[in-house]
C-alpha cells in the first residue's frame, strides 16, 4: 500500500501548500469599521449603509457611481464604484463594497446590496402624516 500513500500524500501536501499561499494572497477581510478601512491599502470588503442625505452622482461618461457610505459608528466614507447604480440600491438596508481606499475615496470594484428580506425586519412606525 506504499505507493498509494506516497501519491496521495504528495498531492495533498502540494495542494495544501499552494492553497494556503493563495488563500493569504486572495484573502479579503470584512471590515465594518471605516477607520480601519481607511488605514489599510489592502483590498477589503467594507460594510455600511448608504448616506442618503449626502449627494450621490452617476457619471454616465466615465461609467462610475459615487456615493457616501457610513458605518455603525457613524464614520463616513466616499465610495466610487466602477459601474452604474446597482439593482435594489435604493431599498438596500446595507451595502457591501469590495475594493481599496485610495486616500481620497474608496475605489469599489464590486458592490453587493443587502435588501430587507420582505418587510419582516423593517421598522414600521406611525407617522405624523
Amino acid at each position: 500500500m506504499k505507493n498509494k500513500y506516497i501519491f496521495g500524500g504528495f498531492i495533498i501536501v502540494v495542494f495544501l501548500g499552494i492553497m494556503i499561499y493563495l488563500f493569504t494572497q486572495s484573502n479579503i477581510q470584512y471590515k465594518d469599521d471605516f477607520t480601519q478601512v481607511m488605514n489599510t491599502t489592502k483590498t477589503v470588503k467594507a460594510t455600511g449603509s448608504w448616506v442618503k442625505t449626502k449627494s450621490y452622482h452617476i457619471d454616465k461618461a466615465n461609467k462610475t457611481f459615487s456615493f457616501y457610505l457610513m458605518d455603525d459608528k457613524g464614520n463616513e466614507m466616499k465610495v466610487i464604484y466602477d459601474g452604474t447604480m446597482p439593482n435594489n440600491f435604493e431599498t438596500a438596508t446595507s451595502v457591501v463594497v469590495t475594493g481599496t481606499y485610495t486616500g481620497d475615496y474608496f475605489h469599489a470594484k464590486d458592490i453587493l446590496t443587502k435588501c430587507p428580506s420582505k418587510y419582516e425586519n423593517q421598522q414600521v412606525q406611525t407617522s405624523g402624516l
Binding site: F7, F23, N88, E90, V124
Partner: protein
C-alpha cells in the same frame, strides 16, 4: 391546519418505521412488516401534505404565510406550482418529498437484495425523520398561518371592502420613510375578523409574489432536479452505514454503485441548469461565479464523483471472495457526500453567509441554526463513529500493493486530486464563517492545475491496465494517441492564439483525455453499448472543459452606447437600436436591436423593467446563439433624452435652519400645516414648507408641497430658474420639527436641443460556450449508460 397535522403524523410514522427497521435488524422478525407499513404511510402523508401545499398555492389561500410570501394572483399556473420551492420552508418540503419518494424505490430495491433492507432503511428513515422535524411546526413549517407572528401587509394586498371596519384603524400603520401604509396582521386582528365572520382568505386578496429573478422557465425545473440529486445522496450514505452495521464490506459496493452514479448524474445536471439559468437571467454574462450557493452544491458532487472512481477499484479487485481495495476510502467518500449535502444546506440556510452572497439569505433564527447544526452533527458522528468502531476490520490483508503503473493507483490518485479540488472550494466557501473571504481568482488559480492533472490522469488511466502494466506496453499504446492529441491541441492553440502556459497545458490535457476516450468509445460502439458509460461521461467532461476554455479565455466584452437608429460596429457586427416598446401589459420594456453581418440579419431583444416586488430596475439580457459562439447583450441603462445625469442631494433640516447647495443658501422657515377638518373627514391632505433661497444676492420665497391622495403621495416641487435649482419636500415630521428635502439642478437646461435616445449595453462574444452545456448533457448521459450497466450487477446471489 390539516397540512401541519399531516406532517406531524408523517413524523410519527417515520420514527416508528425507523424503530421497527432497527428492531428487525436486531432480530425481531415481525417488526419488518410494521416498518414497511410505517414507511409507506409516511411517504403517503408527505405526498398528501405536498399536494395540500400545492392546492393552497393554486387556490391562493393567503392565510398561509408561505402562500402569501411567495405567490400572488398574477402568477401563471407553472410558476404557481414552482412557488412551492420559492422559499426556505418549501425547499425543505421539496427535499423531504423527493427523499420520501426515492425511499419507496430504495425499499423495493433493498428488499430484493438479501438482508439489506433493514439496515439501509434504518439509516434512511433517520434522514427522513430529521427532514420531517425541519418542516414540523417548531421549525420551518410551510403551513404556518400568517397571524402567528405579527406581519405587516401592504394595503394593496387587502380587500378594500373591509377598510371601513371599525377596528381596522388600530392595525393601520404608515412607514415614514416610504409613505406606504400597512396593516399589521396578528392574532388579535384575526380574532376580531373571525368575530365579524370574515376569514383571512377573504381579507387578504393578494400575495407578495415571487422574486422577479425566480420568474424564469428554469425555476420550474432546476430546483426539483437539484434536490433529487441531494436526496439521492442519502442512499450511498445509507449503504455505507448499513455495511458498517453488518461489518461486511463486500456487497455494498455493487449495491450502492448504481445509486451513486444516478445521484451524481442528476446532481450534475441540476448544477449545470443552475449555471444556465444564471447565464440567461442575471445578465453578468457568466454561468459560474463561485457563489456560495453554487459552490455548496458542487462540493458534494466532486466528492461523489471521486467516490465513483474508487468504488470501481474496489469492485474490480474483489476476486476470490476478498473485499477489495480502498474499503476505507469508499466508506468515507460515500458518507462524506451526504454530510457535505447537509453542510451545504447549513451554509446556505443558516444565515451564516449573510454578507457573502447575491442570494439573499434570511436569518432563520437561532433555533433553526442550532437544529441544522445538530442535524449535520448527528450524521457526522454516526459516520465517523462507526468507521472508527470498525477500523480494524476495514482493510484487506490479502490485497497486494498497487503497481506503480496500474489503473488502481491512477484512479486513486485521481480521486485524491478531486478531493483536493473539493477542499479548495470548501475552504473558499467557508471562509466567511471566520470573517474572511476569497477572491474568485483563488478558485480559478487553484482549480486550473487540478483540471490539468485530471485530464492527464483520465487519459493515462485508460491506457494502462488493471493490476500492473509494463512500461513498454504503455509507451507503445500511448504514442499514437499522444501524437493525435498534440496535433489537435496545436491546432486549437494556434487557431485560438492561446499564449498562457497554463491554458496551453489545460488544452493539451483535455484534448488527450478526449482523444483516449473517443478512441475507446469508437472501438466498443459496435460491441456492448452498455460499456460506453464511462467513456461517454469522460468525453462530456472534456468537451465541457474545452467550452470553459473557449468562453472564459476568449470572451471579449465592450460597453456600447447605441443611439437610436444610428448603427455602430462591434466585433465585426453592425448593431442598430431601432425601437423600444412596452410588453406584458406595459409592465416591461423591450428593446429591439438589429445585428447585421454581411447579408445575415438577426434581431435581439433585451428587456428592462421596474419590479414591483423589490422596487428596483431589473435588466434581462438577450443572447444571440450562433453555431460557434454566443453574442450576449446585457442592457445597462436607457436614456430617453429628456434627462441628463442624475445629480441630487437629500437633506434633513430642522425648522429655522439653513443649508447650502452649490452657491445657493436655503432656509427652512415655516411648516404649512394640513387642514384639520379635511384630515378628519379622510379627504386629501395637503401640507408643505416655506423656504427662502438666497442666490446671487437675491432672495426667492418658495413653497414646495406634498399632497396625500388616498394612499399615494403627490409631490409638488418648487423651481428657481435663475439658480438652476429644484427643491422637493419629501417628508415633514411635525414632532421633531424636521423636514426632508431633495435638492437638484433643474433638468433639461444643459441639454442639447436635439434629444437623443441612447441605449447603453455591454455586448460580449463568448466562443464555444455551447460546449459547456453540451458537455454536461453528454456527461450525464454517460452516467446513465453506466447505471444501466451496473444495475444488473447489483444483484448478488445470497452468500
Amino acid at each position: 391546519m390539516i397540512g401541519t397535522i399531516v406532517l406531524v403524523a408523517a413524523l410519527a410514522f417515520s420514527l416508528m418505521s425507523m424503530v421497527m427497521y432497527y428492531l428487525s435488524f436486531r432480530g425481531y422478525k415481525n417488526a419488518i412488516n410494521y416498518a414497511r407499513i410505517a414507511y409507506h404511510g409516511m411517504a403517503m402523508l408527505v405526498i398528501v401534505a405536498s399536494t395540500l401545499l400545492w392546492y393552497a398555492l393554486l387556490t391562493h389561500q393567503y392565510e398561509y404565510k408561505y402562500v402569501f410570501s411567495y405567490s400572488n394572483n398574477s402568477l401563471k399556473t407553472g410558476f404557481l406550482l414552482a412557488s412551492f420551492w420559492g422559499g426556505q420552508e418549501g425547499s425543505f418540503m421539496l427535499w423531504l418529498l423527493l427523499t420520501s419518494i426515492i425511499g419507496i424505490f430504495l425499499q423495493s430495491y433493498a428488499s430484493k437484495r438479501g438482508d439489506l433492507e433493514q439496515r439501509v432503511m434504518t439509516v434512511f428513515t433517520l434522514a427522513t425523520t430529521f427532514l420531517l422535524i425541519m418542516v414540523s411546526p417548531w421549525f420551518k413549517n410551510p403551513f404556518e398561518f400568517i397571524w402567528t407572528s405579527p406581519m405587516f401587509i401592504e394595503l394593496k394586498s387587502i380587500n378594500p371592502k373591509y377598510f371601513n371596519l371599525s377596528f381596522i384603524q388600530s392595525f393601520l400603520f404608515t412607514d415614514q420613510g416610504s409613505g406606504n401604509s400597512f396593516v399589521q396582521v396578528n392574532s388579535d386582528l384575526r380574532n376580531l375578523l373571525a368575530n365579524s365572520g370574515i376569514t383571512l382568505n377573504q381579507f387578504i386578496v393578494d400575495g407578495r409574489g415571487l422574486n422577479p429573478q425566480l420568474l424564469n422557465f428554469w425555476m420550474q425545473i432546476h430546483p426539483p432536479i437539484l434536490f433529487t440529486g441531494f436526496s439521492m445522496a442519502t442512499v450511498p450514505f445509507s449503504f455505507a452505514i448499513a455495511a458498517l452495521m453488518k461489518n461486511d464490506y463486500k456487497d455494498w459496493v455493487r449495491q450502492a454503485f448504481p445509486w451513486l452514479l444516478a445521484g451524481m448524474g442528476i446532481l450534475g445536471l441540476g448544477i449545470m441548469l443552475g449555471g444556465y439559468w444564471a447565464y440567461e437571467m442575471l445578465g453578468w454574462g457568466g454561468y459560474w461565479a463561485w457563489d456560495p450557493v453554487e459552490n455548496s452544491s458542487l462540493i458534494p458532487w466532486i466528492v461523489g464523483v471521486a467516490g465513483i472512481h474508487t468504488l470501481l477499484v474496489q469492485r474490480k479487485t474483489q476476486v476470490k471472495g476478498s473485499i477489495g481495495k480502498f474499503v476505507k476510502t469508499n466508506l468515507i467518500l460515500c458518507i462524506l457526500t451526504y454530510v457535505l449535502v447537509l453542510y451545504s444546506t447549513f451554509l446556505t440556510r443558516s444565515g451564516v453567509l449573510g454578507d457573502a452572497s447575491v442570494h439573499s439569505f434570511v436569518d432563520p433564527g437561532m433555533i433553526v441554526y442550532l437544529f441544522l447544526f445538530f442535524f449535520i452533527g448527528t450524521f457526522i458522528l454516526i459516520g465517523a463513529g462507526s468507521i472508527i468502531y470498525r477500523w480494524k476490520y476495514l482493510s484487506d490483508p490479502t490485497q497486494s500493493e498497487e503497481g506503480l503503473i496500474s489503473r488502481e493507483l491512477a484512479l486513486f490518485t485521481a480521486s485524491i486530486v478531486l478531493i483536493a479540488a473539493a477542499t479548495i472550494v470548501i475552504v473558499g466557501t467557508s471562509a466567511p464563517l471566520f470573517g474572511h473571504s476569497v477572491d474568485t481568482f483563488f478558485y480559478n488559480e487553484m482549480n486550473l492545475p487540478i483540471a490539468i492533472i485530471i485530464g492527464l490522469l483520465n487519459g493515462l488511466s485508460l491506457i494502462i491496465k488493471w493490476r500492473d502494466t509494463g512500461k513498454k506496453d504503455v509507451i507503445k499504446k500511448s504514442l499514437p494517441l499522444l501524437g493525435v492529441s498534440v496535433l489537435i491541441s496545436v491546432l486549437i492553440i494556434l487557431f485560438g492564439g492561446i499564449s498562457q502556459l497554463m491554458i496551453i497545458l489545460l488544452t493539451f490535457s483535455t484534448t488527450f483525455a478526449l482523444v483516449v476516450n473517443a478512441e475507446i468509445a469508437y472501438k466498443i460502439i459496435r460491441g456492448n453499448k452498455k460499456m460506453l458509460g464511462a467513456y461517454v461521461a469522460h468525453i462530456g467532461i472534456s468537451l465541457f472543459i474545452l467550452g470553459v476554455i473557449g468562453s472564459a479565455v476568449f470572451t471579449q466584452e465592450k460597453d456600447i452606447d447605441l443611439v437610436k437608429n444610428q448603427s455602430q460596429s462591434a466585433f465585426g457586427y453592425e448593431m442598430t437600436f431601432t425601437d423600444i416598446y412596452p410588453i406584458e401589459n406595459n409592465t416591461k420594456y423591450e428593446f429591439n436591436i438589429d445585428v447585421k453581418k454581411g447579408n445575415t440579419e438577426y434581431k435581439v431583444k433585451p428587456v428592462m423593467y421596474i419590479s414591483d416586488f423589490n422596487n428596483s430596475l431589473m435588466r434581462v439580457p438577450a443572447i444571440l446563439t450562433l453555431p460557434t459562439k454566443d453574442i450576449y447583450f446585457s442592457p445597462l441603462g436607457y436614456d430617453d433624452g429628456t434627462s441628463s445625469e442624475v445629480h441630487g442631494k437629500q437633506i434633513s433640516v430642522l425648522i429655522g435652519n439653513e443649508f447650502e447647495f452649490g452657491n445657493a443658501k436655503i432656509k427652512y422657515n415655516e411648516f404649512i400645516k394640513p387642514d384639520i377638518s379635511q384630515m378628519m373627514s379622510g379627504g386629501d391632505i395637503t401640507m408643505g414648507t416655506k423656504l427662502t433661497v438666497s442666490y446671487d444676492g437675491k432672495d426667492y420665497n418658495i413653497t414646495p408641497m406634498i399632497k396625500r391622495e388616498s394612499n399615494k403621495f403627490v409631490y409638488t416641487p418648487a423651481e428657481i430658474k435663475e439658480a438652476n435649482l429644484k427643491i422637493e419636500v419629501q417628508k415633514i415630521d411635525p414632532q421633531s420639527q424636521k423636514a426632508n428635502f431633495v435638492v437638484s439642478k433643474i433638468n433639461g437646461e444643459t441639454q442639447p436641443t436635439q434629444p437623443k435616445e441612447v441605449l447603453t449595453l455591454t455586448a460580449s462574444i463568448k466562443p464555444f460556450i455551447s460546449l459547456v452545456w453540451i458537455g454536461v448533457v453528454v456527461m450525464v448521459f454517460g452516467f446513465f449508460i453506466s447505471v444501466a450497466r451496473r444495475l444488473p450487477e447489483s444483484f448478488i446471489k445470497s452468500s
